[in-house]
Symmetry: C2
Subunit: 180 residues, 2 copies
């Protein structure tokens, strides 16, 4: 979240940022930003805030987004296309459809560690299990299906349906005030 904002700020030519400004962009409080960042190191200059570039680089290192990561995307439908568009910011060319065994072989020999599951919902579990078998350790599940995560694997599920149910519960209701 902070990293995203820092990238935006740097692109906009901003040099210096205070914890409160960063907080505002992220809908949190200034002390929360400082507490979070200081878990890793002292990135700021007391009395002056943070150097945007320096903080972006350091946070990138912490998140390990500096070094390129090989990832495999399983699925051919609209979710797959939407994911590619969302990550690359543009349409990505060059696809071919291969049997899963072939894909698994490539994943294994190239030591791919990250996976995105964009299959039909009913195939999500099987796909994650298969990816785990060939060495994938982190999976983003955008299939809409549920997944029990095998040991040794981190699974993050992103589903518009789930997000919508959460919103439906969290939406402010007239006359009801919720703390936090």
């Amino acid at each position: 979240m902070y990293h995203d904002v820092l990238v935006r700020l740097e692109d906009a030519g901003v040099r210096r940022v205070r914890s409160q400004e960063l907080a505002r962009e992220c809908n949190v409080r200034g002390d929360r930003v400082r507490a979070d960042l200081s878990r890793f190191d002292r990135f700021g200059i007391v009395g002056h805030g943070y150097d945007v570039h320096v903080l972006r680089i350091n946070l990138g290192r912490v998140l390990r987004v500096q070094t390129p990561r090989k990832a495999v995307l399983i699925g051919t439908g609209a979710s797959a296309e939407a994911f590619l568009l969302g990550v690359a910011g543009r349409m990505v060319g060059g696809r071919s459809v291969e049997p899963f065994d072939v894909v698994a072989g490539v994943v294994q020999s190239l030591r791919v560690r990250f996976g995105v599951v964009a299959t039909e919902p009913g195939w999500a579990q099987e796909t994650v299990d298969a990816l785990q078998m060939v060495g994938v350790v982190a999976v983003l599940n955008v299939s809409g299906g549920g997944v029990r995560c095998p040991s040794g694997v981190v699974v993050e599920t992103a589903s518009p349906m789930l997000s919508f149910k959460r919103l439906s519960f969290l939406a402010p209701r007239r006359g009801v005030r919720v703390s936090g």
Copy 2:
């Protein structure tokens, strides 16, 4: 999360479910499920677990997903299409492109409370602000852009880029064991 699983179970014809089984599907523990559910009511039968249908209905009521909710989707690109596909489970027909003022008028007069922002990233903030002005109280932001949420509005941002950065940090690294 629980509601999603219950819908799947009911579709599969399952009548009864124990907290541990529900937990397994959601990658949590049985006592967590019981603690969560009992925040709202006593849905279960001691010694026998939960009736899938009864629990689904009750949880649906809590989440307010039973009553249909009017929502407005702003945006015409692939994110918008992908969202529709993800929610409806199929392609949805019947679109027309209207000036935003017209859309705002319709939102206001139909008292639409939910919004999905699938514009280009740079327009997300402006769109959320405009929706707030015409009475929207909950927004799902799938634009890829950042949004500061105006008061009185709940914003949930879903971004593949963000999810990927999180995974990149959480992914198990050889030799490092993390608690939790």
